[in-house]
């Protein structure tokens, strides 16, 4: 069984985002980058499924520049077996990412793909669903529990929706997207990092895969939202009630 896990390089969730003066992008100088947190959860789940089912090859893949090799090495250090870097200087939108990932899937023929539900930089929450559509496969998004059944030919999932938890089954191969509560990703260990150095990291390009990484989304400008300013401190519950009733008039 082969499991494909896409990983995206994103600014660490704890960093303060600063914009370039001309609004053309975010300031990357001095910014710490990490594997998108939802992708770490997806990879952790792949590792746990391998531990449960015995044999599985786990392949991590990212689309981006040379610098993304760092996140692939993190994936390998967590326990993935090999990595693919699809090199491009374009900043692909979710549809372009899905097209490249679809080409990788056609080549690799994984038993299933598990990936983050959302990249925490663009916050799009699209690529997994788009990948499933392009491959003509089923999808389960926002997975919070995963169990492989029927000799790994089906999966049973719980998913997090606005109304609560939903339980579904799906035929494999399929695309699954991970939500926060699927698991807690392990930390990379020093032996893991040492081993990762020897694991294969293949470099491809969208052209070599026969697809384009061109986006349909054109970003014209980035801005900071109008900030909220801090209001006042009240000293007592009475004062809070008075303010809400008579000043803000919301009670």
């Amino acid at each position: 069984m082969k499991i494909l896990v896409p990983l995206k390089r994103v600014p660490d969730p704890d960093t303060k985002i600063r914009l370039k003066a001309d609004g053309s992008g975010i300031e990357t100088d001095g910014v710490k980058f990490a594997v998108n947190p939802f992708d770490s959860i997806a990879l952790e789940e792949a590792l746990r499924q391998r531990e449960k089912t015995g044999a599985a090859e786990i392949v991590v893949v990212t689309i981006g520049g040379e610098e993304c090799a760092e996140q692939l090495r993190t994936g390998l250090a967590m326990g993935a077996d090999r990595a693919i870097l699809v090199k491009t200087t374009a900043n692909p939108d979710s549809l372009a990412v899905a097209k490249v990932l679809a080409a990788v899937c056609r080549k690799e023929q994984p038993a299933f793909v598990i990936m983050g539900k959302q990249a925490i930089d663009d916050d799009s929450n699209q690529a997994g669903q788009m990948l499933a559509a392009l491959l003509g496969l089923g999808q389960i998004t926002f997975v919070s529990k995963l169990e492989l059944t029927d000799g790994n030919r089906r999966a049973r999932c719980s998913r997090e929706t606005d109304a609560g938890i939903e339980n579904l089954t799906i035929s494999l191969p399929a695309v699954l997207t991970a939500d926060l509560r699927l698991n807690e990703p392990r930390y990379v260990s020093l032996p893991g990092i040492m081993k990762a150095k020897k694991k294969p990291l293949e470099e491809l390009t969208p052209e070599s895969l026969g697809v384009s990484a061109a986006s349909r989304t054109r970003v014209l400008k980035l801005e900071r939202p109008a900030g909220r300013k801090a209001g006042v401190r009240v000293k007592t519950v009475d004062e809070l009630i008075a303010k809400l009733r008579h000043e803000a008039k919301v009670l």
Binding site: P11, P13, I17, I26, D93, L95, K117, I120, D122, D123, N125, Q126, Q129, M130, A132, A133, G136, L137, G138, Q139, T141, F142, S144, R156, E160, T161, D162, A163, G164, I165, E166, N167, L168, I170, S171, D179, L180, R181, R216, T217, R218, V219, L220, L222, E223, R224, P225, R228, A230, G231, V232, R233, V234, T236, V237, L240, L244, A248, V250, L251
Partner: protein, 323 residues
Amino acid sequence: MNRILVIAEHDQGHLKLATFAAAGFAQKVCAAAGGTFDFLLLGSGLAAAAEGLRRSGAAAVLVADSTELTQPLADRCAQVIADTVRARAATLVVAATSTFSKDILPRAAALLDAGMLSDVIDVRREGDDLTFRRVMFAGNVIATVQLDGPIKCVAVRSAAFAAPAATEALSPVEAVAVDAAALPKFAEFISRETKVSARPDATEARIIVSGGRALKNAADFERLVGGLADQLGAAVGSSRALVDSGITPNSLQIGQTGKVVAPDLYFALGISGAIQHMAGMKDTKVIAAINKDPDAPIFEIADYGLVADVYEAVPELMQKLKT
């Protein structure tokens, strides 16, 4: 000329208010750049829901009614949406942001080879094109963007668009033929674990009372957060910390990866104010925060901040609000 398809969302036939905000977005596009919009309802037993959509200025209310669509499974719904877009030559597909639209709309977009924007908060016409504004980086960045291609898909934040004024004229209701046998059936529905709550949904409430890690267990959450909410007829919400520890269900999570809300009043009770939480509530009109740490980041965005222990302040608040 825009031909817009607004995907209506409902919960077992009860229309979601956010659907009307999506229609408001469609009207805004039509006003700026010309065109008309239709609603598309998917599910089964939709007569009442369809009726509820007839006074919002749509050219038509399209209804895809089939027992195979009783549960909103993405593979089936996306197929129906894509087929309808093609049949109607729609150029813009719109839905309000929710887990329903997040699941289905990107899939439909890819079937149509259409680009998609999530979390759109504004739109305007620029020459022959539409320019959108959307939120990214946990609410820290607003991007101005355009989409290439003959079909565009957008999910809009409901708080950013006003529902259309009710019309005298009724939009006609039209059935959309669903070839049940031809629908993809990769996924099968088993069950849904919903906590039936008498409280309003956080995305539809005027007031939200939200609790964080300060609440030590489910009983305390129910007594303090739930109690205050019930007194005010408000919805309840929570930070991720409480959902992770099993104190609140996932459906209450407010934030970057939970629900995004913008009520008139938001009580943040024992919530520190992590950027991921603020991403989901900082467009609220009035924020009232109670936290025992005077340096908690939530105070940087709160209109009214009270440094106090929620276990003392909230019972006092409930007592004094009675008078």
